[in-house]
Symmetry: C3
Subunit: 344 residues, 3 copies
């Protein structure tokens, strides 16, 4: 169940080698191998990593300026995927080209459009501002899953798991699971998905908050996020000492997180993420502490979801029991499913 | 081809951790993940290792008294598989439960019933007395196979292989293959299967017998066993110096063995086994020698059967050639097949 | 797409152990496990490595003279695959036999015939003379591929890849790709396939030629080969200083190569190869240098073809774009396909 007319993140900007390097970056998205490289004019291009001739990967070839020469029989493709040279032929036939994918780099995320190029619409890019913003600080993360992406989306759409999966990292109290979130549908100006808002009053600070500062009292915590097509989370979260005014963040922890899932194959997924805090904290060690906490917590998720997927794989017959936890994920899956069907 | 209304051994009693430990034992039987744990009252319970909500394994959660809390979203299940608590709900819905398997511990074997719980019938448990009997001594064994269980059953139903597979361990002479066994059908009081009796007069002692005592003469050997649904061998075997009276075991080797196969998946199997000798021998080293011989010999079987399975997998078309060796296994497979069909 | 009525190489002669050894050689061809062993009379035999009884591999058994005894239940098969002894039976039934494959050893290649034994025709053996000829010197090579054999055949049928895959080993100049080969159909006296001839005038010597001698001038190079059913290359190749007469090889490099592909399974292949030079060179180090160059170059091919196969496996829908490079391989695939269909 893949939506095609949308943007998928294929890489962090820093993963793509410099224009002069011969190291060719290739990654699979929706089961299609894609070659991404920088051009001399400072741009970036994405073309199928599969020569049109005998389907050898172009990434096993070499760069020649802004073009790539196939390492099998020497066909030369330009940055638009058009074949410019076939050894032994005067002019390549018109059919000799590889698919070019619309590509946009926005706030360090490299997006490719997997559907009809004509429908590529930049309004549909998510507002991942904190990935690259002077006021926000983070360490960019990447993780690979051997599970379908929707199981991870389920996880991101239901934060009640924080109380159990992340009791010792991001969570810290059973009250998160008890607090009922509000779920609203988003459908505005190219952005589609659900908005999930969860407020948890008067709970102890989670273990990793103590890396920011010491707290003498309980906190009011909040998680407010958009979860947008195809599978991107944009979240404001934080905690404020009980009693502090809602507009007083002087003693609060305030985070912004951008996370996105890109299906690699039916049963494997790329996961790009960062969680930012305010640059004003000016303590480099906090930045790395936060990242390590995320890595540990997201490892807890991956263990659980991978184990869940094994159970699902060995018996696809038995049905899951829908519960109140699932309000956001059921909503999102329904919207997405309708959008996938509408594309056919 | 799995019989469901019968008892399968899921573990040796000693494999299940103590009631107070948080280490949760899980094993797959007939492709179903099952959680087994001890309760405070000294009992033991078996429930599906799969939360009814999103199918996460409960074994990735934690114990709370005699209950288990799912580590994903916190559902709490009691020892009967009934959900007692769902975070954020006043009362769990009636549907919120996981399958409970009838469980019996008998002579150190932990049995689960894989069919309709209402039909669970303890008369159908095999008489595995020597697994736990003051007169008999053994070391309990477990082995994992990457083959279907019926290929191993075939092996146990035709001891002519002892002459070849186990020439240097359990066998010792070609006469075992030459001696024709009698095969009778068993169908009494819940016990179904075949009885196989093989007598081999006047043969040298097999190599491992010399660990019990030295023999100056040849032996009369016997192997008499029941092979019962679903796949359990209960065997009297031994050897007596030629000329000694049939009721004189003063210089004989006398063994009793219990072995059982439990399908893990279509193509993998759990194998539980022990071979006992009389406790009166009072030599601890014999006990371990016997076990090591069994391990070596059963490794010979596993090598052969795994190689056989590879051949069978790469060409399922060619038919096997039935020979006189196969009388017991053909009989058993036919009975089992009829029983499986009768269940539908 | 396997042709059955033809000879496939199963081994180099030296791979088969001596007649008195109990080490049994087994290899899969067209997904059939085959046992090859030497007999006391200096001959060699090939029979199915699969006992007719329960399909255990005979290679897990033991030799008894020119016979092999199954290690599972003791059936004894002679070198013709006829069962001579079944423990416990007076006479083996007529059906008790395993398939015998016609076998020929020719110039160190051990061939087996995979179709109807009655049609086995030695005229169809390729003329692999340089594998074993006093005038020619080589090191025999073997390589295993995890790809279908036809992708490797494609590679051998289009030497334009030398310019790119082997730029630093066998190739050395883009002109090889530019030179158009002539392709003729071969269909004479049992030999069927295509003849490919490619001449490349006035190019630098490839890197590995400098191991034979130093060249002051460019060379005229040639590659002339038969590519015969099922998948065997017999090639004359070489290079001669520009200006030297065509019949003057005094300063030329002259090679003869025999290479053949044997499908192991649908997606894996045995590759037997050697490239010979004139024995008159009398420098043993050249022989090993040549072999090492081949190994390195054939490793380059395997990397490329394995990567190509991955691309093909993950998307079987998109079609390849036929180009002029493919004239020989398209021709060969068509002939082979027709021959396979004609066999049905």
């Amino acid at each position: 169940m893949w939506l095609r007319n949308c943007w998928y993140v294929i890489a962090w900007d820093h993963e793509i080698p410099a224009a002069h390097e011969n190291n060719l970056f290739s990654r699979k998205v929706l089961n299609e191998p894609i070659l991404v490289y920088r051009t001399a004019d400072g741009g970036m291009t994405a073309i199928a990593d599969k020569c049109c001739h005998r389907h050898a990967p172009l990434s096993a070839g070499r760069r020649e300026g802004d073009s790539v020469r196939c390492g099998y029989h020497g066909l030369l493709f330009d940055a638009k995927g058009v074949c410019r040279e076939i050894p032994g032929m005067d002019t390549p036939p018109a059919k000799a080209c590889v698919k070019k994918y619309p590509l946009v780099v926005k706030n360090k995320w490299v997006f490719v459009w997997m559907g009809d190029a004509e429908k590529a619409n930049q309004d549909m890019l998510p507002d991942n501002f904190s990935c690259d913003h002077p006021d926000w600080v983070n360490v960019p993360g990447y993780m690979h899953y051997d599970t379908p992406y929707l199981l991870i989306a389920d996880n991101l759409l239901d934060f009640s798991h924080l109380s159990y999966v992340h009791a010792n990292t991001l969570g810290g109290s059973a009250e998160i699971a008890l607090a009922k979130p509000t779920v609203e549908v988003i459908d505005t100006n190219g952005q589609r998905g659900v908005k999930v808002s969860r407020f948890i009053p008067d709970v102890p600070a989670p273990p990793y908050y103590t890396r920011f500062r010491k707290f003498d009292s309980n906190l009011d915590r909040w998680f407010v996020y958009d979860f947008l097509f195809p599978s991107t989370l944009l979240m404001n979260s934080g905690g404020r000492p009980v009693g502090d005014a809602q507009d007083d963040n002087s003693r609060a922890v305030v985070n912004h997180s951008c996370q996105t899932l890109t299906p690699e194959t039916e049963n494997s997924t790329h996961y790009f993420f960062q969680q930012s805090h305010k640059a004003s904290l000016k303590d480099e060690s906090v930045r790395h502490n936060m990242y390590n906490t995320l890595l540990e917590a997201f490892g807890e998720d991956r263990d659980m979801i991978t184990a869940q997927f094994k159970n699902l794989s060995s018996n696809a017959i038995e049905e899951m029991l829908p519960l109140h936890f699932d309000s956001a994920l059921v909503r999102f899956r329904k919207l997405l499913s309708e959008a996938v069907i509408a594309e056919k």
